[in-house]
């Protein structure tokens, strides 16, 4: 069973490479039960979007 610390590391890694099937399943299972990590996951996606838009934001 994954804990939140491991789940966050996996979510981050998932942004940089394809996770293995056991990793994906473990993560899915953890996210079903953990609202903190679900929020974390959504926030990671938001960070990525923000970074892509950042250079064109002129003061």
């Amino acid at each position: 069973m994954l804990n939140c610390k491991q789940a966050t590391a996996l979510m981050s890694q998932g942004l940089d490479k394809k996770l293995s099937t056991p990793q994906q399943l473990g993560l899915k299972f953890h996210l079903m039960m953990c609202s903190g990590c679900r929020n974390f996951s959504r926030q990671m996606a938001f960070l990525r979007q923000g970074c892509r838009q950042f250079p064109s934001q002129h003061d």
């Binding site: 981050s12 940089d16 903190g36 990525r48 979007q49 970074c51 950042f54 250079p55 064109s56």
Partner: protein, 213 residues
Amino acid sequence: MSRNPYNTIPGNCYTVKMEDLPATSNNLDDDLASMRRDMLKFARLQLRDEAAAEDVVQEAMAAALGGQKQFANRSKLKTWVFAILKNKIVDIIREHARAPTAAVQDEIPEDAYDDLFDERGHWLDDTAPTGWGDPEHSFSSRQFWQVFEICLTRLPENTARIFMMREMLGLETGEICKELDISETNCWVVLHRARMGLRLCLDERWFNSENLA
């Protein structure tokens, strides 16, 4: 503000087809000026040195424009200019970091975020991430982008550089690590810590602060 409201994803040259976006300017000078602004913003954060940023952008623009005729459209030119810029920045980072592996990996210590979790590795009651509502709404706020920049700047230098190469230029970790001569595992560790730091910073300074309108 950018003159072209659609011109918002310059770093992401590898996946976004700029030619699919509506063109609002037919003027090459305007395009180049806006491209230059985007690059400067990126280079400034990467190098944290105004003069060096100006120089590197100047060189990249000159190198790219030397071959201007080859470009069928301006999105290709932009991709090319950013690729040159990236290479120049990588060279500068290499010159500055004699032992990048040790330096980069320890910038944010391994135990930096241990406080967020209990001994079993679960979020504590007051550290579990709470929802950010509809965070994309913040993209239209000028103050939000100022906070975003502050948070990026607060990351340690090399950590921020690797993070930006990954997230703003959209480079693969394999490519970044090879260029900087660090292992891919170290690269993931650095990126993860950068994301943890940036998330916490935005959480504290924006999403859970009174700045949020």
